[in-house]
């Protein structure tokens, strides 16, 4: 293919978009609809995943310090605890602080008014990096001299891990299904656009145009439609996401739902949308045209 023809072929591709306005419009609308659905679901899953991770972090290990240790000795254990690989954060709580929190947890019930702090022991509240290793870390903590007892809710940790895994698999499955459905719909739309021009393709074949020459304008067109669809869906999703987050902020006074700002999703989202638009546009037009090339 001569370089001088390249400009013509690209121009033809762009011209094709306007010449077959309705089909182009349909292809863009279908791309936008599919990408908004896939993108919306993906960002929802991403946020839910983060929320579950945050919830999981609230599942801590409590390491009770031996009552015989002095305050200074009890505080010095913190260094050893922090040296354990899986420990994200270890907070020292004096027995007085522990009592205060205990009473607060029981709605400041006057029954506990007379309890002496000396009946409790100093402790460390340990947050882990990975709760899947909770049992191992608990065992390592219990081996540290001066730690009398380790309390952890292994069942809750396992429950969170299962929830995360289920969420992970389910989201991948749903996104994969949505992507396949989107590709099929878009590919069909592109096929219809091709069908619209089967006579042009047949004439090009008849006069001796090479397959590459015939394909390029369609691929350029597919590329342009894919990009337009990706950009529109990206900005639509951005607006919808922000609207949802703002609405939630008004309604969700308990702050149960903590959505990440869209700026955090911006780079991966635009990259994915562009890649999907490109893939759908180019691959969709390339494969659809094959059918019409056997003339």
């Amino acid at each position: 293919m001569k370089v001088t023809n390249l400009g013509y072929l690209i121009k033809e591709g762009i011209r094709g978009i306007f010449l077959h306005g309705f089909m182009s419009f349909a292809a863009v609308i279908v791309t936008v609809a599919c990408l908004v659905i896939v993108g919306g679901f993906s960002s929802l899953v991403y946020n839910v995943n983060i929320m579950v991770e945050d919830l999981n972090k609230t599942n801590e290990i409590v390491a009770i310090v031996d009552a015989s240790l002095t305050d200074a000795e009890a505080r010095s254990i913190g260094t050893k605890i922090n040296q354990i690989d899986n420990v994200f954060q270890a907070e020292f709580k004096t027995r007085e602080k522990a009592l205060e929190e205990f009473i607060a947890d029981h709605q400041n019930d006057p029954v506990f008014g007379g309890v002496d702090a000396a009946t409790l022991r100093h402790r460390y509240v340990v947050v882990l990096e990975n709760n899947e290793l909770m049992e191992d870390t608990a065992a390592q903590l219990s081996l540290i001299p001066g730690i009398a007892e380790v309390k952890a809710d292994f069942e809750m940790a396992a429950g969170f891990i299962t929830l995360q895994n289920v969420l992970h698999v389910a989201s991948i499955a749903v996104i994969a299904v949505l992507l396949v459905v989107s590709l099929l719909i878009i590919s069909n739309t592109v096929k219809l656009a091709m069908y619209d021009r089967k006579d042009e393709i047949a004439i090009m074949k008849m006069v001796g145009a090479t397959n590459g020459f015939i394909r390029l304008p369609f691929v350029v067109e597919g590329f342009m439609l894919g990009m337009i669809g990706a950009l529109i869906s990206f900005f639509m999703l951005w607006a919808m996401y922000n609207a949802l987050v703002n609405r939630l902020a008004e309604v969700d006074t308990l702050k149960l739902f903590n959505f990440v700002p869209f700026s955090e999703l911006l780079a991966p989202m635009i990259a994915t949308f562009m890649a999907a638009g490109l893939f759908v546009g180019i691959v969709g037009s390339w494969t659809s045209i094959r059918k019409f090339m056997d003339v």
């Binding site: 010449l19 042009e200 004439i203 006069v207 001796g208 145009a209 397959n211």
Partner: protein, 226 residues
């Protein structure tokens, strides 16, 4: 030159479209290919343009051996063969000029070549004053002239006209046949597939008659029996 040697063509459904067809059409020759529907005429055209491969035998067209041609060579074969159809097959959204230019662009011609060649071809077929019209604004004869211009613009050595007068009245048919003869006089090999017995006899050219996949007549006198 078009050369068929003992060519057979069978389709997967069991139809034997051609059975041992041999013929030779020399460069610059004018020949009519005639025969009833289903006799194998369309199969011959498709073999010449590389749309089909022969089941057995050899087909040579303008230096290409169709029985062993590679797929990527077929576009280059087609550039040597212009095809004109009964139903014109024009692009209605393009003007007369663009329909012809489109055929040149499709094989990668430069814009300056297109600007030089298209007006010349339109003048040759008598459409120089209608270059801005669309096909739907032309008469049947003019549409066929445009189809001939498109077939001719890439300077093929052979033109195959498949029932070129099938949709035209007798006066128009004569006009189109005269144009094809003029083009043949300029040196282009011409193979015209037709049912029009009057035209065939009037022009007195070579007639190849085919029936049931077999050549039943090949003579130079414009006379035939099928």
């Amino acid at each position: 030159m078009i050369e068929f040697n003992e060519v057979t063509k069978s389709y997967s459904v069991g139809t034997h479209a051609l059975r041992g067809v041999s013929m030779q059409i020399e460069d610059g020759e004018f020949a009519f290919l005639i025969g009833p529907s289903g006799s194998g005429k369309s199969t011959i055209i498709k073999l010449i343009t590389g749309e089909l491969e022969p089941t057995s035998g050899t087909v040579h067209v303008n230096g290409y051996s169709l029985d062993r041609i590679r797929k990527r060579e077929i576009p280059y074969l087609r550039r040597t063969v212009g095809v004109v159809f009964q139903d014109f097959r024009l692009i209605e959204t393009k003007t007369v000029y663009e329909n012809v230019a489109f055929a040149m662009r499709a094989i990668g011609a430069r814009e300056d070549e297109i600007r030089d060649r298209v007006p010349y071809i339109l003048e040759l077929v008598g459409l120089e004053n209608k270059s801005r019209r669309h096909p739907t604004e032309l008469s049947g004869g003019e549409q066929q002239r445009l189809a001939i211009a498109r077939a001719l613009v890439n300077n093929p050595s052979t033109i195959i006209a498949d029932e070129p007068t099938g949709n035209l009245d007798p006066a128009m048919s004569l006009e189109i046949m005269s144009l094809l003869q003029e083009i043949n006089n300029l040196g282009t090999t011409m193979l015209v597939v037709t049912h029009d017995r009057d035209l065939v006899e009037r022009f007195g050219k070579r007639v190849i008659a085919i029936n049931d996949g077999v050549v039943v007549h090949d003579g130079m006198d414009g006379y035939y029996r099928v």
